[in-house]
């Protein structure tokens, strides 16, 4: 059994089928890349897994337990944390306080939460910015803060929604390093990314969505040579 099992999930918004009968699994310890053209349904997939949208059809299992139908905070408590494509830090809180707020999920006292938070911001390279009010952070650091907040909940699985978009090359290298180190900690990762070179380099396996359908699934090598995928992306030209 996979750690995360998506079984026949569909999600409709009115007449629009954002996801149609999607099934795949994420294995413990791997990095699974989720790719597809704009509007393919990637973020919607995260929203279904994380509990924001219950699936219209189908089910999601995490560690053999059904999580579809649960609330986001329950799913997070079970060990699935996410970041947002459009970053949403707690604006009027400092970087450190943002991370402390998340860390309280696993501990009661402020001292313990602070300990987790300090460890997390050092790990994600935000230590020097700890007292900055997050509203004033540049985009690259806000993306890191998204990751730090999610990590501070001590997840077993991390869902990263375009954590690299808009980063400059230095920040990109840093973030790739962070993702690799998260994996070394034994945290399973599902990552949405448009940056093809990055996704090919870090993913163990890749699932491709297009117009809400699963187009392909396989190793980066298999996906790179899949004619269906090439066609879907050529049709999209340079959105990547």
């Amino acid at each position: 059994m996979s750690m995360l099992e998506v079984k026949g999930v569909s999600r409709f918004f009115g007449g629009l089928a954002a996801l149609t009968d999607i099934s795949f699994g994420v294995e413990k310890g791997e990095i699974l890349g989720l790719i597809g053209p704009n509007g393919a349904g990637k973020t919607t997939m995260f929203n279904v897994v994380n509990g924001f949208y219950p699936p219209s059809r189908g089910e999601v299992y995490f560690n053999q337990k059904k999580i579809s139908g649960l609330k986001p905070h329950q799913i997070c408590k079970m060990g699935v944390a996410r970041t947002f494509q459009v970053v949403r830090p707690l604006q009027r809180m400092s970087v450190l306080d943002n991370v402390i707020a998340s860390a309280f999920l696993r501990v009661k006292s402020r001292a313990q939460a602070e300990e987790i938070a300090f460890e997390t911001i050092k790990f994600t390279g935000l230590y020097d910015d700890r007292d900055v009010i997050s509203k004033g952070l540049p985009l690259g650091k806000r993306k890191k803060l998204e990751i730090a907040r999610a990590l501070a909940t001590h997840p077993e699985m991390l869902l990263l929604d375009e954590s690299f978009a808009g980063l400059n090359p230095t920040e990109l290298d840093e973030s790739i390093g962070i993702i690799r180190r998260i994996k070394e900690r034994g945290i399973t990762i599902m990552i949405i990314e448009h940056h093809m070179k990055v996704i090919m380099a870090i993913s163990d396996r890749i699932v491709v969505l297009s117009y809400g359908q699963k187009l392909a699934e396989g190793t980066p090598h298999e996906i790179g040579n899949n004619p269906l995928v090439i066609e879907a992306y050529l049709g999209e030209a340079e959105s990547a």
Partner: protein
């Protein structure tokens, strides 16, 4: 020094009656402290947790009537209303929370506003319990002098202050602020937003209800139009916090001082009647435009302005 500020202020207030203030000034002091308590309560829910209530008169009134009905129907001292109001108000808060907390932002505000009005109408019409518009009169006043009333509300204020401080510096406080800043993000970070909003509402309601129960004992008379008043309770509560400083520890005190004195000042203007609400309205507009974070919240800005004024 800063750590001991609350103790110093409480100590100073505690010796104030000893200097022999007139009954009028004692009354003003008691009102200021009572409004600070209500302001602190609102601040917990509205300032920190971001759930702006336009219906805090509901909790004030329920607290007041708990004390009043105890006295009127069961013949026990209205002071028992203070401990009992905790239970009664919690019940009301859970029901009101269940209905209103599923609403967000302005819809929550409107929901609470409606609750305040509904409770007032109920108090007016359930005459067998509340005596309706006749109101409830406490005939045997505990003290003629104001000193003990002053100490009781001062103790309530001190308790409320330390409760709010403890809460805000703990996990609860972080969760409240997280909910205020982004409810969906908070939820996805494992925060049971419904639960924590209900806790914020209940704590806020309890403190407000205690002030209401105190009011019955102190004033000796309540009726639905007074204790469930939209303008004179719900709106003034919001103004106390907005003027003083939203989500600050001292904002409600500063706001209470200003609002009580302003109300007294306006009262001396002859033939003004209900037009005094206009003054509050104008004040609110000025505050929102120039000091959106209130006097305490915008203190650095205020200091800068004053210094510029002196230099010029």
């Amino acid at each position: 020094m800063k750590k001991y500020l609350p103790l110093i202020i409480a100590g100073l207030l505690a010796v104030l009656p000893l200097i022999g203030l007139s009954s009028y000034w004692m009354h003003i002091l008691i009102l200021v402290i009572m409004w600070s308590v209500i302001g602190m309560a609102w601040n917990l829910l509205g300032g920190y947790c971001g759930q702006v209530s336009f219906g805090h008169a509901a909790f004030f009134g329920v607290g007041a009537y708990t004390a009043g009905i105890l006295y009127n129907k069961l013949g026990v001292s209205a002071w028992w209303g203070l401990p009992l109001s905790i239970m009664v108000v919690t019940l009301f808060a859970l029901v009101i929370g269940y209905i209103c907390l599923r609403l967000k932002g302005p819809f929550f505000a409107l929901g609470t506003l409606a609750m305040g009005v509904i409770l007032r109408v109920m108090a007016e019409n359930l005459t067998t319990i509340t005596e309706g518009d006749l109101g409830i009169m406490i005939r045997e006043r505990t003290w003629i002098e104001k000193t003990w009333y002053f100490y009781i509300i001062l103790i309530l204020a001190a308790l409320a202050f330390f409760l709010v401080k403890k809460v805000i510096e703990s996990k609860l406080g972080y969760y409240f602020v997280a909910i205020r800043e982004d409810q969906d993000a908070a939820e996805s970070l494992g925060i049971n937003t419904t639960l924590y909003k209900t806790i914020a509402l209940s704590l806020s309601a309890i403190i407000t209800g205690l002030a209401g129960a105190f009011y019955t004992n102190y004033m000796g008379y309540i009726d639905p139009k007074i204790v469930f008043a939209l303008h004179d309770i719900s709106i003034v509560t919001i103004m106390v916090v907005m003027v003083g400083g939203v989500a600050t520890f001292w904002g409600p005190f500063v706001g209470a001082v200003i609002m009580v004195f302003l109300a007294e000042l306006i009262r001396t203007i002859p033939k003004l009647g209900a037009a005094h609400h206009t003054f509050f309205g104008i004040l609110l507009i000025v505050i929102i435009i120039f000091l959106p974070n209130g006097i305490v919240g915008d203190l650095p800005k205020l200091k800068k302005l004053l210094r510029m004024g002196k230099a010029a």
